[in-house]
Symmetry: C2
Subunit: 238 residues, 2 copies
Amino acid sequence: MSDSETSQENRGQLAYAALREAIMENALKPGTKLPEGDLGAHFGVSRTLIRAALARLASEGLVDVGKTKSATVAQPSREEAEEAFAVRRALEREVARLVAARWSPALEKTLRAHIEQERSASEAGQHKLSVRLGAEFHILLAEMTGNALLRRYVFEILGRTTLIIAVHGQAHPQADSLAEHLELIEALKKGDRALAEGIVDRHIIAVEDRALSRAEEEPAALADILTRFAPAPAPASR
Amino acid sequence: MSDSETSQENRGQLAYAALREAIMENALKPGTKLPEGDLGAHFGVSRTLIRAALARLASEGLVDVGKTKSATVAQPSREEAEEAFAVRRALEREVARLVAARWSPALEKTLRAHIEQERSASEAGQHKLSVRLGAEFHILLAEMTGNALLRRYVFEILGRTTLIIAVHGQAHPQADSLAEHLELIEALKKGDRALAEGIVDRHIIAVEDRALSRAEEEPAALADILTRFAPAPAPASR
DNA sequence: TGGGATTTGTTCGTATGTATT
DNA sequence: GAATACATACGAACAAATCCC
């Protein structure tokens, strides 16, 4: 009954949550191998539970599982990144509509308190905390729709896009997020669904741009690189 | 190398797919117990693979897994049903926008051919086939967006709503679906994104209404039933 | 290129917890 | 209400495939 044994039963969940956090914070870099044995040893559970955790992470797009190769931290391509942001926009537009329709002073209070946390974390230079709070703002909104399934989908797609930002993004991609979050609250307060929808849409596009715009292009194919040094592949002599 | 052994390696996938089909066609009624041992014996695999299949089905909302009780075919509540349809509408509106933007004669041809299949199945009274084709129409549309992740999300939410229709719906809930599908094609042909979005939205609302409108209300709680016979729970005597 | 060590895929056995008589 | 039977949770072991030197 000791408190240190509290998680004796759900270590599998713990492994899942810990890995998810580590991947989303870019502590585990994309491509990193995740051998089941090592993970099991670290978390003190058998491979069975680790396999379940990895399977779930794979279904959420955070790890890649080859056929009989080690699982690795996912490396979302540019195309997958754009797909994920497109889905996220569609889901969060719906969130904005629903929250605008059920707006109340209590919700406003909760959201403003959260933004205040974001601000202080940002001003204190707590980068990782700031990123996490930025994501939690969107979870909070999704919860306010009262639609548990929608919340779940938003939670999942946020994991994907957060990894993408970690992979493709730069140091401080959430620079203007605070102002955009405040702008959204004003629109929600007016109960203007279309406006709220539009603000969310633009906000997420801005997040995507900050993450992808200046990102280095895909590592060029070997042939492309060589072409720059030997402009025309010399036709067979003659 | 015999053909009968073709699936020697991925029987787990097979179990997943077979169970999914059976649940969506209402061959396995909601609440039916799914003991791992029996399933393993039937599919010729060990419980480990069955567990993985059940876990995936659970994540898709098609089965409920208690803590240490048998998994059962899910019984979506009225509330969960409404949540699922709300998410589905949001995703399919996005599908409509994207397809309208990339419309081409080739797509039209594919969709009309599919609808023709739907029509002949419907006229031949092939109820189950008709329902399946109706769902596949939406998958086809999602594929046409070129967004693989969006397709996946639509695939998943279609599983949920199809089960819901099987649970709450009546005999022929897709009666008018054909006409609505044709109407959508006309809108897509015009390249009118807003119109296509609206048609999809109304179409899914219609599907939901056909499934839920006349459905019997939730079995009333015992207390509610008794209340009708003993209006006020008599306060302790005196 | 080849061989050994490592890692995964799968199965089976034991303990734990629930439902039923 | 207690005891029995059953189904699941979890872990250990074995064979096949992969990776690395």
